[in-house]
């Protein structure tokens, strides 16, 4: 029986069916050795949403399964849930609007992941051994090298039918450096769409430098000072906070402090939600409800401009959906289980418009401050936008020069106060994943008068 017939048999008129097929190949390292070769790791997930109506009320039920043979049960469960779940808010499935193109797949990963992971691993180890041979010894204690191929199919009862194939590459590496009894490490974790973006020769030199530097690290003193955050930290600072308060849903629920045309940041800050940025980590022609993804200006020169809408809150607030109905990935989420996550409003790729200064110029202008390359976990409170996070790898800056590597101590503050006190944005953007947020496109940002805590 076809899927359409299964819905008909269950007496379901309004529905969508989201199917995600994922294949992962991976090598994990222990030191310079291979600990495990994983693959193929294959999963499939079907998620059914059924819409019921009773007068002015609508109910949406969702159920998932991992076998096509269970789809009939899944449909019946979703139908039952939708009848228990009748609410005053409106909903209807979107019809198929035309999507714009964006690049989301790496042809190398599509061609052959298992061999590619092995080749990459060989190259990584070769580069690491070469680096280790020169200067202070840097060794990997462990690593993860992983490819994902994801095939998504989405169809609904109003004729929408869309599909996409996308790829991810994940690299996690713990680089240890030792001298006598002193130990230090740099522990980066990065997603990209393509394997070339994280090629060993591109990423290792800086990571090794950071590992070596941390051996001489000290803790900062407690003081307010200038703080420059790297793009990864900006991702974790801004996506959970601006991304949360910009949601139409939060406007509807009165949980945002953003109002249209309010000045919310300094005039040097422009932030867009760019769902079509080539190889952006949440780029896609369409969102997880089938609406086309696009580009929405959230903050323009410090002024809050537009909310981001999924289908539900667009309908309930008389707005148009902006392609932000997503099965949102936190940085810790298992991509392979994405189908089980309910659709809700979420940013795609928040993109911070670059400034005019180079990073070097921004550093040279600092009288006393720090540049943070990595926090242990920058995880701000989405509502209050406060945070306090331990420094893992940073540099002390005095009179425009690096003077000391830092580890330990904390940077803390309130994000929505900090974005009013930006004194510089660098002129180059990077596609980044963070430890809290999955995607951002950002330069380095310099903030003034930020609390640093230490001994």
């Amino acid at each position: 029986m076809s899927q359409t017939e299964l819905f008909r048999k269950a007496g379901v008129e309004e529905y969508d069916l989201y199917t995600l097929k994922a294949t992962v190949n991976e090598v994990q390292l222990r030191g310079f050795e291979i600990e495990i070769i994983r693959g193929p790791v294959e999963s499939i997930g079907y998620t059914v949403r059924v819409l019921s109506r009773k007068g002015q009320l609508t109910g949406l039920g969702q159920s998932s399964c991992s076998e096509s043979s269970k789809l009939e049960k899944c449909i019946n469960d979703s139908k039952y849930l939708s009848q228990l779940n009748l609410q005053k808010t409106k909903y209807e499935f979107p019809s198929g609007k035309k999507d714009k193109e964006t690049k989301i797949a790496d042809s190398q990963i599509l061609k052959g992941s298992e061999e590619l992971v092995q080749t990459y691993t060989d190259s990584l180890l070769k580069n690491l051994k070469a680096e280790t041979a020169s200067g202070l010894s840097v060794k990997p204690t462990f690593g993860k090298i992983r490819t994902y191929v994801l095939e998504t199919h989405l169809e609904n009862s109003v004729g929408l039918e869309k599909e996409k194939i996308e790829t991810y590459f994940y690299l996690e590496l713990a680089l240890k450096v030792s001298s006598g009894t002193k130990l230090a490490e740099f522990w980066p974790r990065k997603y990209s769409r393509t394997i070339d973006d994280l090629a060993p020769e591109k990423v290792l030199p800086k990571w090794i430098q950071l590992a070596r530097g941390t051996l001489k690290a000290k803790m900062p003193v407690s003081q307010k000072m200038t703080v420059i955050l790297n793009p990864e930290s900006v991702c974790d600072l801004l996506v959970p906070t601006i991304g949360f308060h910009a949601q139409g849903e939060m406007k509807f629920k009165k949980q945002t402090v953003f109002n249209k045309e309010d000045v919310v940041a300094c005039d040097c800050l422009t932030v867009q939600d760019d769902g079509l940025h080539d190889f952006g980590l949440v780029s896609s022609p369409f969102d997880d409800e089938g609406n086309p993804q696009g580009k929405t200006t959230v903050i323009e020169k410090g002024v809050f401009k537009n909310c981001l809408y999924d289908q539900k809150y667009a309908l309930n607030m008389g707005e148009k959906p902006t392609g932000n109905g997503l099965k949102s990935l936190a940085a810790v989420a298992n991509i392979m289980n994405k189908h089980t996550v309910p659709v809700g409003g979420a940013p795609t790729n928040l993109s911070v418009e670059p400034g005019k200064s180079s990073l070097e110029t921004m550093i040279s202008e600092v009288k006393k401050g720090i540049l943070v390359e990595q926090f242990s976990w920058l995880n701000p409170d989405r509502l209050a936008t406060t945070f306090s996070s331990e420094i893992r790898n940073a540099y002390m800056i005095r009179n425009g020069e690096y003077t000391q590597v830092l580890k330990g101590g904390m940077v803390s503050g309130k994000v929505f106060d900090m974005i009013k006190n930006i004194s510089g944005i660098s002129n180059q953007q990077f596609i980044e994943s963070g430890a809290t947020a999955f995607s951002c496109i950002s330069p380095y940002i310099r903030f003034e008068d930020v609390q640093v805590a230490g001994k």
Binding site: I34, L81, Q255, D381
Partner: protein
């Protein structure tokens, strides 16, 4: 065939896959994983009911010191044969010879007991209870602009077979009930939360006094509206049981996971038998805590759950191990190998990690502190297994002034060196309490865990807050 239709078929399938590898590798195991859950979330606008499910098989082989694994959702012999064929083909070889310790085969079939199985409660009743819990918080204070409530039950069935002849099955059900009241006054928005549950059944809901829990959680969110930003710097610190648990787990426990020791990535390597904490301190990891969120019957390598004393009176006693690490380090297997699902790798993980109780009251702990900070209700933490650093963040806190609890503070992070902090514990409370959460190793591979302890007094630690 269908995964969950007939158990015999699953055992047959795993045995079939094992037979395909038998004699061709040094060790193999096969894990069937079936997870189903019911999630109901409600706030003032939305009500969301989701029934996710995940089923599949992971095969693993070990040869020449290297593991191989493959996973599939397809429950058929031809797929398993194809996977097994790949797993026996690996040409990789470790630099040194590593032999896995042989363990006696076990046969077990245990469903963790529950007072009330969530499967026996109708969906309508569950929804009704979530609505009642939500409504209990609704009109307590006009500054509460939204109340998020969530119910979650999950049933994990795992069947394990290996080349030693073990054949085991466990079913573990976990139930949780959560509330997040959101308080707003002008542009200030704050939220505290409550999280109840564990490896328990629907009694988690039945035994909760909705009105009392809602009132306490709402009051805490409201209190945060007027909380001040914490001071930054070094202070005497008192932490509650939630924060004690997160220190035991995140800051200390991750360094005790023996895979970090084997990787030469643990600040605790070489410290067995040495003083790592004050002599008032005993830290335990136990997968046998009744109802503990991290409890199980056996780990994902077929080792029955254990209570492991990690630190006794300040002396480091043992690392947490899996089959590989126990073999390499020639130490006891602590039943600590866990997977998130059939899709993820086995790692050494904690279960329920906690400080043992001491003999002091909270008043006695606070009494000598002239000016200090109290951290209450954990929010999150992050490990630093090589550096031994701390990042533990509370939801709220209080100033301690002249031995008394003073003004409320917003979220506070604790930083510094974990061994310095543990050695400076000079007071341990008498009441042990557990919290529950989800642990990622680094930033992925999420497993349910419990953690806890009594109130602890730390002579000096670095704190800061946003």
């Amino acid at each position: 065939m269908h995964a969950s239709t007939k158990l015999d078929n699953v055992f047959d399938l795993l045995e079939y896959a094992g037979n395909e590898m038998e004699g061709k590798v040094e060790y193999w195991d096969a894990l069937f994983d079936s997870q189903s859950s019911c999630s109901i979330s409600k706030d003032n606008v939305d009500e969301r009911i989701v029934l996710p499910e995940l089923t599949g098989i992971q095969l693993r082989s070990f040869r020449n010191g290297v593991w191989r694994s493959a996973s599939t959702y397809k429950m058929d012999e031809s797929k398993l044969k194809e996977m097994a064929k790949r797993l026996v083909k690996s040409r990789q070889k470790a630099e040194r010879e590593i032999k896995l310790n042989y363990l006696n085969p076990l046969r077990l079939d245990v469903t963790m007991p529950l007072k009330k199985n969530p499967d026996d409660v109708s969906l309508e009743s569950k929804i009704e209870d979530v609505r009642s819990f939500h409504d209990a918080a609704l009109n307590l204070d006009k500054r509460i602009i939204n109340v998020q409530t969530r119910y979650l039950d999950s049933r994990i069935e795992r069947i394990f077979m290996n080349s030693e002849g073990s054949s085991m099955r466990q079913v573990v059900t976990r139930t949780r009930l959560l509330m997040f009241p959101i308080a707003r006054e002008n542009n200030k928005i704050r939220m505290d939360y409550v999280s109840l549950g564990g490896a328990k059944g629907y009694e988690v809901v039945d035994e909760t006094d909705f009105d009392a829990v809602a009132k306490k959680t709402v009051d805490s969110s409201i209190e945060l509206l007027n909380a001040k930003t914490p001071p930054s710097g070094e202070f005497p610190v008192v932490v509650d049981s939630h924060m004690a648990g997160i220190i035991a787990h995140e800051s200390f426990g991750h360094g005790l996971e023996a895979d970090q020791v084997v990787r030469k990535r643990s600040y605790l390597a070489g410290l067995i038998g040495k003083q790592v904490a004050s002599e008032l301190t005993t830290i335990i990891d136990s997968s046998k805590v009744p109802g503990g969120h991290g409890s199980y019957v056996f780990d994902d390598e077929g080792i029955p759950a254990k209570e492991n004393i990690l630190v006794k009176n300040g002396i480091l006693e043992r690392f947490l191990t899996d089959r590989f690490c126990a073999s390499v380090l020639q130490c006891e297997n602590t039943a600590s190998s866990r997977v998130e699902s059939y899709l993820t790798k086995h790692f050494v993980r904690m279960s329920n990690t906690y400080f043992a109780a001491g003999n002091m009251t909270l008043e006695e702990l606070l009494e000598p502190i002239k000016k200090g900070v109290m951290l209450v209700h954990s929010n999150f933490g992050m490990e630093d297994p090589l550096g031994g650093g701390i990042q533990c963040t509370s939801t709220k806190g209080y100033m301690i002034e002249h031995g008394k609890i003073g003004a409320p503070l917003t979220e506070i992070s604790l930083s510094g060196n974990v061994l310095e902090v543990l050695k400076s514990i000079d007071g341990v409370g008498k009441k042990l309490e557990f919290g529950l959460g989800t642990c990622g190793k680094g930033s992925e591979d999420l497993v349910p865990v419990g953690d806890g302890g009594p109130y602890l007094r730390i002579q000096r630690a670095i704190v800061s807050g946003g």
